[in-house]
């Protein structure tokens, strides 16, 4: 009888775990990680464009110090944040990361808006190239973020629904943080050109 138990127990455990969503967690967890690294990739790509962009704008609009330093600051802040996979399981660190990236987003859009006032800058081939690259990268960021949001949604639904939530509790799987709506708005809305403030 005891022998039968020792044979059945692993089997039951395996069946029980897959029935309780443990295996689904593994798949979905990996998926969120993959889509997260795509987000990071694209943010990195954007950060890499910034120094060149700042240099080019400086050449034509040197006295726009305010915006230029804002971009440079935001860029260095983004660079200083250590992004480890643990960020995904830590809502606070995630919020910090998101805030820093959001700051760079708005600083960059302000910079591009300011650039509109300099016809020579706008006509510069180097600047136009950078502009096209920045546009493409921002679009990739949006796509990567949307895909991350989708994958987290799927993961969170799986973790939170019954009876999977019991398994999740047992093994310490928590719901993952996602990008918030306010930030989404800031990214998808067009930059505002305020002629009152620009000199």
């Amino acid at each position: 009888m005891r022998q039968l138990y020792t044979k059945l127990l692993p089997l039951l455990l395996v069946l029980g775990l897959s029935g309780c969503g443990y295996n689904a967690f593994q798949t979905l967890d990996e998926e969120t990680k993959a889509s997260w690294s795509e987000v990071l990739n694209q943010y990195q790509r954007r950060a890499d464009l910034v120094p060149n962009l700042v240099e080019t704008v400086k050449g034509y609009a040197e006295h726009e110090k305010e915006v230029l330093t804002e971009v440079a600051d935001a860029r260095s802040k983004v660079g200083s944040i250590q992004v480890t996979p643990e960020v995904l399981n830590d809502p606070e660190a995630f919020a910090k990361f998101q805030a820093a990236q959001g700051q760079l987003t708005s600083a960059l859009s302000r910079l591009m808006a300011v650039a509109e006032n300099y016809p020579n800058l706008k006509a510069d081939q180097g600047f136009r190239d950078l502009q096209a690259q920045l546009e493409g990268t921002e679009n990739r960021v949006t796509v990567a973020r949307n895909r991350y949001i989708e994958s987290v949604k799927e993961y969170n639904i799986s973790v939170r629904s019954f009876p999977n939530n019991l398994t999740a509790m047992m093994f310490g799987y928590k719901a993952k943080p996602s990008f918030t709506v306010e930030n989404e708005k800031a990214i998808s809305s067009a930059p505002k050109v305020d002629f009152g403030n620009t000199k």
């Binding site: 096209a132 690259q133 493409g136 990268t137 679009n139 990739r140 960021v141 998808s188």
Partner: protein
């Protein structure tokens, strides 16, 4: 929601109308009452589903590489562009698709573009070598959506230049066909420079066999004549059928096709008849019919191969 509500509504109404036309079973009165009732229900349903109307535009189904919802291109130019793109898909494996819509509102063209890309999956599965050119006529905006695998061959910068230097000037003059044609040529040249695996034979199986059809016909005529004169009418015909079906099988035809070819070739050779002149006169019609049919069923089907997009490319206006 896979199908947009208005479209489904239309479909249901059309079905109902068809029912109405062919109503032998019910009296017309009865059908009318039923129709009214259903229309009522649909009306109520459409109120409930009203928010769906402000939802993003539905993505049209992919049938041809050139989808023009605005009737901007003439049928001829649409066909010539499609032929060019089919050619690329067949020879290089990479795919380019063109979509002309009136507007992408309420979405941005980039948001719309990625949705089109996710729905159509232009390009091959692992190569992700697809490109979609989208033109929103009323918005005066266009976008080139580049698949993951071609982001190296067509960087955002290059896509932007194709838009601003090739498409925009022509579009401004109303020359949409010329702009698209030139853009397709440029993109094709860029893709040609990229080392990509050759297209798989399997994917163009039916098209490939149909391409061989005219040659097979000639082979059938000559081997038929020779075999008949050596082995006599019946044995010669059977041998000819066998030889041709083996040839088709070697070319990659399915078993059913091979069987059909055997029967067709057998009858064909039999029908060649003793009178050489009369028999010969019969061939051109058979040849023409077969080729035309092949053109319809084999060539014109265009579908995405599972290519992924990550938002690469560029947008512009004119």
């Amino acid at each position: 929601m896979k199908k947009p509500f208005p479209l489904r509504l239309k479909l249901i109404l059309e079905t109902l109308n068809n029912l109405h036309d062919g109503s032998e079973l019910h009296g017309i009165m009865q059908v009318n009452v039923m129709l009214k009732l259903v229309q009522w229900v649909l009306l109520v349903l459409s109120w409930i589903a009203l928010p769906a109307f402000s939802a993003p535009m539905a993505i049209p189904a992919l049938i041809s590489p050139v989808t023009d919802l605005t009737q901007t291109l003439s049928p001829q130019s649409q066909q010539s562009l499609a032929q060019k793109l089919n050619q690329l898909s067949k020879e290089k494996g990479s795919q380019i698709a063109v979509l002309i819509v009136d507007t992408t509102q309420p979405e941005d063209i980039a948001q719309f573009g990625i949705r089109v890309a996710e729905a159509w999956k232009i390009g091959r599965d692992k190569q992700d070598d697809g490109v979609i050119i989208i033109v929103a006529k009323a918005d005066r905006k266009m976008r080139i959506e580049v698949g993951y695998g071609l982001e190296g061959a067509i960087p955002d910068l290059t896509a932007k230049r194709v838009i601003s230097e090739t498409m925009a000037p022509r579009f401004r003059q109303g020359d949409f066909e010329g702009g698209l044609n030139a853009a397709i040529d440029q993109l094709t040249a860029l893709i040609a420079g990229e080392a990509l695996p050759a297209p798989q034979k399997q994917s163009s199986q039916s098209g490939g066999l149909l391409e061989w059809l005219p040659i097979l016909m000639f082979v059938a005529i000559f081997t038929g004549m020779v075999l008949r004169s050596i082995f006599g009418t019946y044995a010669g015909s059977a041998l000819n059928g066998g030889a041709l079906s083996v040839l088709v099988w070697v070319l990659g035809g399915a078993l059913l096709t091979v069987g059909l070819v055997f029967i067709a070739a057998f009858i064909f050779t039999l029908a060649m008849g003793g009178n050489r002149g009369g028999g010969y006169g019969g061939y051109p019609t058979g040849y023409g019919g077969g080729y035309g049919g092949g053109g319809l069923s084999g060539r014109d089907i265009f579908s995405g191969g599972g290519g992924d997009f990550g938002g690469g490319g560029a947008s512009g206006d004119w």
